[in-house]
Assembly symmetry: C2
Homo-oligomer: 233 residues x 2
């Protein structure tokens, strides 16, 4: 069983097929490459290709199924005490890490998806699946809120948009710089947007108190308001 | 020229093709219906079909091209004084209005897109185009902000997600209720999220001043902070 193609040693047949496919896509173009060309270059049979990939499009995105499964598993392992927003931001970092592991491949694929409409559409449906996994998790966590479903859908879309903003920027730059730092910065914007949403911590001397007042309010009223917010009024 | 098929009177050939297509899709299923079936039912030639629709998928979404054009035009007509967030919310209302104009058709199409993977993918690419139009507009409006592009992308995704939340809810209900009220409610959530984002008005006695302090900060320091924010320190 140690030679099973599903859990192979060293460059697997699956990896060889992906490598052969990208070699040909870059050389002669995606549309001009057939599955027959790919298997000939990889030196394997046609049936082997379809054992790993349902279609030619799928060989362009060989890692997303695993990444989607990893994200689902990561979110399923969440504790009730986890801040849901922090949790989904961490979940999208998993995806960025996958891209960052192989910058050359990620950039090549990005250029390919810009050129081939069918691949961009494929990519949109992958993005939709990530967003759905995040939305499903948030819907559960926000179930007791009045606008829970709406909030879950909007936050999921925002998190995915922030992630994709950072990812696209990194890919456009040709894979330069630190993509994980970029995605952190983008996700920070989303975190700040809904930062008031975290479950209220127990009161402590380090609580942050926010006072909002009109410029024309007399100082004595501002002081009274601050004191009453602090429970000293 | 008044009989040109592009600007026809009463039930146009285009409308007849859409009606014939949906009659057949509902009767025998989308996959089982060919373009030949559609033109035979509509009583027109095959070339007429392709004059209006590049493919069978396109006949399922006959109104989005117009709606995308309307949205682009609406946003291009914005004034600098318009609150960008209000403006993009109004732009998505145009889309909801299109769905609301023909509830039966909208609900039939929704059910079809749930069943046929290719149509759902098509729909995702349409949604992506709406989001891009909104994002392009916001990127221009936020150009002078430090995180302008990121902000534009995240807000665009949030607006589209809120719109689609309301739309899906209405479609799932079978087209009952007031979809425009539903979308307003959903968009209100997005508006509230970024309500502090409106362009800063000129300073006046009604300015809002925000003071953030730790609970443990001595009152004299809070007062000093408030005074210095008010320009009185």
């Amino acid at each position: 069983m140690s030679t099973s193609p599903a859990t192979p040693a060293k460059p697997s047949m699956r990896d060889s097929l992906v490598a052969a496919a990208f070699e040909l896509f870059l050389e002669r173009g995606y549309e001009q490459t057939t599955v027959d060309d790919i298997v000939r270059t990889a030196g394997v049979g046609r049936r082997s290709f379809f054992r790993y990939f349902p279609s030619k499009e799928d060989v362009v995105f060989p890692d997303h199924e695993q990444s989607l499964a990893d994200m689902t598993e990561f979110l399923a392992a969440s504790a009730d005490a986890d801040d849901p927003l922090v949790r989904v931001c961490d979940a999208t970092r998993l995806v960025m890490r996958m891209y960052a592991e192989n910058p050359t491949f990620s950039v090549q694929r990005y250029r390919l998806t810009r050129e081939v409409t069918g691949l961009r559409t494929y990519e949109l449906s992958v993005v939709w699946r990530y967003e759905k996994i995040i939305g499903d998790y948030l819907r559960t966590r926000f179930a007791d809120r009045r606008d829970g479903t709406l909030r879950a859908n909007v936050v999921a879309a925002a998190v995915v948009a922030a992630h994709n903003h950072a990812l696209r920027h990194w890919l456009r730059s040709g894979g330069e710089g630190d993509p994980l730092a970029e995605v952190d910065r983008a996700l920070e914007f989303v975190r700040e947007t809904w930062s008031g949403d975290a479950p209220a911590p127990a009161e402590s001397d380090d609580d942050v108190v926010v006072v909002i007042t009109k410029r024309s309010t007399p100082m004595w009223r501002v002081v009274r308001e601050v004191e009453s917010s602090l429970g000293e009024g």
